[in-house]
């Protein structure tokens, strides 16, 4: 019996810009993808994972983080370059890879019978653990219409003082999945939830932009099902947020409403009311809802509370 925690996060509305070192001439571009036939901006899963790790590093909660960000040196510092998923929360939750190719396959072809003697692991030097937390790419809820701000560097002016920045006033949505059984320390599920509802800054260019990535609306699902079935379920039209696809999947029986925790701004909408009517756990306060879900997780995983 395996429990999975799935989530779909919708951020607040803000002005997003990015500075990933990729420019077109003197324009700092945003990442874009085609989404439902239109151009939307996007933030990578790696950026969100980085922000979660940084939250654990800087939160006053005694999390032990292996890959720490050194602000002074503007670089990562590993506490233990050989990794230790028992000690360090990021090694356990986000996984790691020290990539030196293995010299042979992890399983030999004839090794299909589990009763046969297990061979020793191949003598590659790969030290790897797949991340237990999967995070999807964040996608804007509205298409990008091409806004650019023009700027000038302060102080002495030169040939490169004038530059432009692509800016998108929007919300982002992204999903995540976690199977607590795979954690060395299952209680870290709680730290993941705490982190994801507290992400303050994701993606670059924060010397100029503060884009709050904490959830304005949040849907969580605690289930035995293999797949979330509600990724990218938020739709925005004229500033109104709806979740028609989520409601459809609950109504047709693909999602058991008792497994759903619907919280934040979406709770106080007609769609929130409809989900509550269908039997979902609907609460306005994100912190309150996650606290209640954490209690359920502690019970189901039989963790020491």
């Amino acid at each position: 019996m395996t429990f999975h925690l799935f989530g779909n996060v919708l951020t607040g509305y803000g002005t997003a810009a990015n500075n990933r070192g990729e420019n077109e001439g003197n324009i700092t571009t945003l990442q874009k993808i085609l989404w439902k036939g239109e151009v939307h901006t996007t933030v990578s899963a790696e950026a969100i994972r980085w922000a979660l790790r940084y939250y654990w590093q800087t939160a006053d909660a005694n999390y032990k983080v292996n890959r720490q960000w050194d602000d002074a040196a503007n670089d990562n510092r590993w506490q233990n370059p050989n990794f230790d998923d028992k000690t360090f929360i990021d090694d356990d939750v986000l996984g790691f890879m020290r990539a030196e190719g293995a010299k042979e396959e992890a399983q030999a072809a004839e090794e299909t019978d589990s009763k046969k003697k297990q061979k020793a692991k191949p003598k590659g030097t790969t030290t790897a653990k797949r991340g237990v937390l999967e995070v999807t790419r964040a996608v804007s809820t509205t298409p990008y219409v091409g806004d650019i701000t023009f700027n000038a560097a302060s102080g002495q002016k030169g040939r490169t003082s004038l530059y432009g920045t692509e800016v998108h006033a929007t919300r982002y949505q992204y999903g995540f999945a976690l199977t607590p059984n795979r954690l060395k320390d299952k209680s870290r599920t709680v730290a993941v939830l705490d982190g994801l509802i507290s992400l303050g800054e994701v993606a670059g260019n924060h010397s100029r932009f503060l884009y709050d990535f904490s959830p304005d609306s949040l849907v969580l699902r605690w289930t035995h099902d293999f797949s979330p079935r509600f990724l990218y379920c938020y739709e925005e039209e004229d500033g109104d947020i709806t979740v028609p696809e989520l409601i459809r999947r609950v109504e047709c029986g693909d999602i058991d409403p008792k497994e759903l925790w619907v919280t934040g701004a979406i709770a106080k909408t007609a769609d929130g009311d409809r989900l509550e009517e269908l039997g979902a756990n609907v609460l306005a306060g994100i912190k309150q809802a996650t606290e209640l879900l954490k209690q359920q997780i502690v019970r189901d995983l039989e963790l020491a509370s």
């Binding site: 395996t2 874009k32 790696e46 030196e100 399983q107 299909t112 995070v135 199977t179």
Partner: protein, 210 residues
Amino acid sequence: MMFSLQVEVPIACFRQSRAREYAETYPVPPPSTVYGMLLSLVGETNRYRHCGVELAIALLSHPDKSTVIRTFRRFKKKEISAPENARPDYQELLTDVQFVVWLRPGNDTHPDHLVDRLLRAFRDPSSIDRFGGLSLGESRDLVNAIFPFAGARDDQLLQWLTKDEDGLLTLPYWVDHVGSRGTRWLRYSLQAPAAQPNPVESAWTEIKPS
């Protein structure tokens, strides 16, 4: 016995086997990728376990292709934080990937066929001991939904992936994780959308390492 599943993946990249700095994507998930996802679904970590099983794949959607830049990690220096170990490269992404995969036991000699295990998994998900977000391709490319295929709607056409000696798509059906000597490819064509409800014989691919 035949069993079919509908799969929805919002964002994915099926990196071409021979792509280098520019990570091009195949337009359709290769059989080896789909097989790996199905093993993950039932919690099977030994990919040789169900060799011989046969798959047929048909696209339900017309995925859009985009290009993003991202950090790729590679091994150049032992020092993990060496800047040479990471560099930005372009990657193609597909959005709105929806397809159907048909399975039949074929030469799957394991007493508990993959088809049977999948049927059991959908009857009682709580009986499955699996781990990790279910993904297709890269681990962050999560599968949003997978469920038994109830047949195409009247307005839905299928794009069948069929074996074709003159096809323009060369897709892996088995991947060697140490170098590429053991990787096995076949040539395919992606057929024009049609109301063909069941796989023709040329759509079936046997998953095997040789």
